[in-house]
C-alpha cells in the first residue's frame, strides 16, 4: 500500500479565480451582502446549453485544475481516474425551480387532469438536473471519467470524508489518480438559506474547487478533531462560508504557503468535524 500526494488544486469563488482573489476578510469585503455569487461559466458546446450553472461550475473547476497545472485532458480520461463529488446544497437551485414550476399556477376546480400545475420548466429537460449525481455526471461526460465514482452530500466535513475516500481508493490501487470536486451555489435559494441561518454562516460565497490526488509518499490519518485547524479558520475568514469547498480551498492556501510535506485539513458541518492529515 502506498501513500498519496496532493498534485494540484484549483479554486473558483465569488471573489474571483484562484486564492489570490480572496479578500483578507470576507465579512468586511461582503459589506453586508448575504451571497457573493459566481457567474455562469461561458463554456462552448451544444451539450452545455441545457446544463445548469452548478454543472458548468464543476466542469470549469476541473478545467482550471488542468490548465493551471498543465495537465492534458488525456491524462485524466478513462477508468484509472476516480471522481469524488461533494456538495452541501448545489442541487438547491434546480430543486427549487422544479418545485416552483409545479406550484406556479394553483389548481383550479375546472382544470382537467393533465392541465393542472403546468409550469414553465420542462420535465424531460429539467428533471434529471435535480439529481446531485447529474452535476458530477456532466463532469464525468465532459472529461471522459469512467473510473470509481463517489458522491457525498454535506458541508465541509463531507469533503474531508470525500478526500479520505479518495485516499482509500488510491492506497488500495483501485485508481491511479483521484479528483475530489466540490461545488456550492446559493443565490437561487438565498431566501431559504436566510431562514436556516443557524446552520450556515455569512457571507455565503459561491464556489467550485477541485483537487487532484495521486499516489505518493505521504500517509494519511482521518479523525474527528474537536477544534478547527488554523487552515479551517483562515478559509472561513478569507473566503466566507463556502460549505463543501472549504477544505479544498484550505489545501490551496496550504500550497500557497509553500507546504509540500505534511498538511492537514479539517471541516465542520452540522456539529461534526472531520480531519484528514497527510504526514
Amino acid at each position: 500500500m502506498t501513500g498519496t500526494t496532493v498534485e494540484g488544486v484549483a479554486v473558483l469563488t465569488g471573489w474571483g479565480q484562484g486564492i489570490q482573489a480572496l479578500p483578507a476578510d470576507a465579512t468586511r469585503a461582503a459589506a453586508g451582502r448575504a451571497v457573493i455569487p459566481l457567474g455562469r461559466p461561458a463554456l462552448e458546446g451544444e451539450r452545455f446549453r441545457r446544463a445548469t450553472r452548478e454543472c458548468l461550475l464543476g466542469v470549469a473547476a476541473v478545467d482550471a485544475l488542468l490548465r493551471e497545472h498543465r495537465i492534458s485532458r488525456e491524462v485524466i480520461t478513462g477508468s484509472a481516474t476516480a471522481l469524488i463529488y461533494v456538495t452541501g446544497g448545489a442541487y438547491g437551485a434546480s430543486n427549487h425551480a422544479w418545485v416552483v414550476a409545479d406550484t406556479a399556477r394553483p389548481a383550479e376546480p375546472d382544470d382537467r387532469p393533465g392541465e393542472r400545475r403546468r409550469g414553465s420548466v420542462s420535465g424531460t429537460l429539467h428533471f434529471p438536473y435535480t439529481a446531485p449525481s447529474v452535476m458530477s455526471g456532466e463532469v464525468a461526460i465532459e472529461f471522459g471519467l469512467t473510473g470509481p465514482y463517489g458522491i457525498l452530500i454535506g458541508g465541509a466535513a463531507a469533503t474531508v470524508d470525500g478526500l479520505w475516500q479518495a485516499t482509500v481508493l488510491l492506497e488500495a490501487g483501485r485508481c491511479e489518480r483521484a479528483l475530489v470536486l466540490a461545488v456550492e451555489t446559493f443565490e437561487d435559494c438565498a431566501e431559504l438559506y436566510a431562514r436556516g441561518r443557524w446552520l450556515v454562516r455569512r457571507p455565503l460565497v459561491e464556489a467550485a474547487a477541485c483537487v487532484l490526488l495521486t499516489p505518493g509518499g505521504l500517509r494519511t490519518r482521518y479523525d474527528a478533531p474537536r477544534a478547527p485547524s488554523a487552515l479551517e479558520t483562515r478559509v472561513r475568514t478569507r473566503a466566507g462560508e463556502t460549505l463543501a469547498c472549504a477544505p479544498l480551498i484550505a489545501l490551496a492556501l496550504a500550497r500557497e504557503d509553500g507546504a509540500t510535506g505534511p498538511v492537514g485539513v479539517t471541516g465542520e458541518w452540522r456539529g461534526r468535524r472531520a480531519g484528514l492529515y497527510w504526514h
Binding site: S79, L83, T87, G88, Y91, N95, H96, W98, V99, V100, D102, T103, A107, D111, P113, G114, E115, R116, R117, S122, G123, T124, F127, P128, T130, A131, P132, S133, V134, M135, S136, G137, E138, A140, I141, F143, G144, L145, T146, G147, P148, Y149, G150, I151, L152, I153, G154, A158, D161, Q165, V168, R174, L192, Y193, R195, L199, Y222, A224, R270, R272
Partner: protein
C-alpha cells in the same frame, strides 16, 4: 420498511409469496399525472418523538431503525458508530413545504438531502461519521461499500448503513414527465416491459468487522465497487461500461470468479434500455455461467425504491441464502430473448445461494456492485 410492512419479516414474506406492493398513490395529488401508482407505504406508525422528526423520509428511516435495533444491539462508543446512507431525494419533500406560503425555517433545513441521515444519527446517538451518499438509485450499494471501508480502516466499530427514499410529488412528476413510468404492470426483462413504477422504502444493515460482535449475522460483504459511465446524464451507457467495471471490480475484490457466484440480484427496472444493457453486462461478466445462475429483480413487487433499492435488495440476497429460497421476478412471464438469463419465473426457486452479485445503476451514470456472502446463523 417497505410497502409490504414495517419490518424485515413482512418484506421477506411479501417477496416469497409473490405479493404486489403497488397501489394507487393516496398521500399526495397525482390526478394530473399519466401514472398515479407506486409502491406507497400506507401505514407509517408514529414513533415516540417522531413529531420532532417531521420529514417522511426521516420517519421511514427511524421506523427501519426500530426494526434493526429489535434484532441487533448496537454496542460501541458513540464516537465509533457511523451512519452511512444512500438516497436519491433526501428530504426534498420538505422543500415543497418550505416554499409554500407560511413555510417554516425547519422545512428549509429539512429539505437538505443529508437531513434524514443526521436525524437517524441523533436517534441512534451515533457521533462518528454521518455520510449521505447521493449516487441516485445506486446510492444504497455505495453506502454499504463506504461503510465497509470505514470498518476496514478502523475508523469506527459499527456502521449503520443502507438507503431510503420517500415517494413524493417531486419525483413522481419528474419520472412521469420522462415517460419512464408504465401504465401497465412492471415487467423486468419481459418482452412486454414498458417502464418502471416508483416505490418508497428504508433499508438498514448493521455492519461490524468480522468476529467483532457475538450473536447472529445475516452475511458478509466480500467486495464492492462503484464506477461512472461518463456517457449520459439520465440513461445508462449503451454498452454498460460502468456497470461492467463495477461488477468485475467487486468480484475481484471479493476474490470470487463467475464459477463462485450462486445468485444475481439484478437492478431490473423494467425499462426497455436498462434491462437489455444489464443482461448484456451480466452475460459478459459471468460468461457461460450466466445461463446457470438464478437472476431476479424485485422492482415489480415494491416499486423502484431509488436510494433504498440496492440496500433492500442486498438484504434480499442474504435472506435468500438464509432461508433457502429465491423470490421470483414478479411480472416476468415472457422473457425477452435480448435479456436471456436464468430468470426466476413463475414461483420462488428452492436454492440456497451463498455468494450473490448485486448490481445497481442510477442517474448521472452511477453504477455500483456488491458481492455478498450469506452465512448460517
Amino acid at each position: 420498511m417497505t410497502p409490504f410492512g414495517a419490518d424485515l419479516d413482512a418484506f421477506w414474506s411479501g417477496l416469497v409469496t409473490g405479493s404486489d406492493g403497488i397501489s394507487a398513490i393516496e398521500r399526495f395529488p397525482v390526478d394530473d399525472l399519466r401514472v398515479g401508482r407506486g409502491g406507497e407505504i400506507k401505514k407509517l406508525r408514529p414513533l415516540p418523538g417522531a413529531r420532532r422528526v417531521g420529514c417522511r423520509a426521516s420517519q421511514l428511516l427511524l421506523a427501519a431503525a426500530e426494526d434493526l435495533l429489535a434484532r441487533s444491539a448496537v454496542s460501541a462508543e458513540p464516537e465509533r458508530i457511523a451512519v452511512v446512507l444512500g438516497t436519491a431525494l433526501g428530504g426534498v419533500e420538505e422543500l415543497e413545504r418550505a416554499l409554500a406560503p407560511g413555510g417554516r425555517p425547519r422545512h428549509a433545513v429539512d429539505a437538505l438531502y443529508d437531513s434524514p441521515a443526521h436525524a437517524l444519527a441523533r436517534r441512534l446517538g451515533a457521533r462518528g461519521p454521518v455520510m449521505t451518499v447521493g449516487a441516485a438509485c445506486a446510492a444504497g450499494a455505495t453506502a454499504i461499500g463506504t461503510g465497509a471501508d470505514l470498518l476496514r480502516a478502523d475508523v469506527v466499530d459499527v456502521v449503520i448503513a443502507g438507503g431510503y427514499d420517500a415517494l413524493c410529488r417531486f419525483v413522481m412528476r419528474g419520472f412521469d414527465a420522462l415517460r419512464s413510468l408504465t401504465r401497465e404492470r412492471v415487467r423486468p426483462f419481459d418482452k412486454r416491459r414498458s417502464g418502471l413504477l416508483l416505490g418508497e422504502a428504508a433499508a438498514l444493515v448493521l455492519m461490524t468487522r468480522e468476529g467483532a460482535t457475538p450473536g447472529p449475522r445475516l452475511g458478509r460483504l466480500l467486495g464492492h465497487a462503484s464506477a461512472s459511465d461518463g456517457s449520459h446524464i439520465a440513461a445508462p451507457d449503451a454498452n454498460g461500461r460502468g456497470l461492467e467495471l463495477a461488477a468485475r471490480t467487486a468480484l475481484d475484490e471479493a476474490g470470487v470468479t463467475a464459477a463462485g457466484v450462486d445468485f444475481v440480484r439484478a437492478h431490473g427496472t423494467g425499462t426497455l434500455v436498462n434491462d437489455r444493457i444489464e443482461a448484456d453486462v451480466l452475460r459478459r461478466v459471468l460468461g457461460r455461467r450466466a445461463s446457470e445462475i438464478p437472476v431476479n429483480s424485485i422492482k415489480a413487487s415494491v416499486g423502484h425504491t431509488m436510494g433504498a433499492a440496492a440496500a433492500l435488495e442486498a438484504v434480499m440476497c442474504l435472506m435468500a441464502g438464509r432461508e433457502g429460497v429465491v423470490p421470483k421476478t414478479l411480472g416476468l412471464e415472457e422473457p425477452d430473448p435480448a435479456c436471456e438469463l436464468d430468470h426466476v419465473i413463475g414461483s420462488p426457486r428452492a436454492a440456497r445461494p451463498r455468494i450473490s452479485l448485486s448490481t445497481s445503476l442510477g442517474f448521472g451514470g452511477c453504477n455500483a456492485a456488491l458481492v455478498l456472502e450469506a452465512v448460517d446463523q
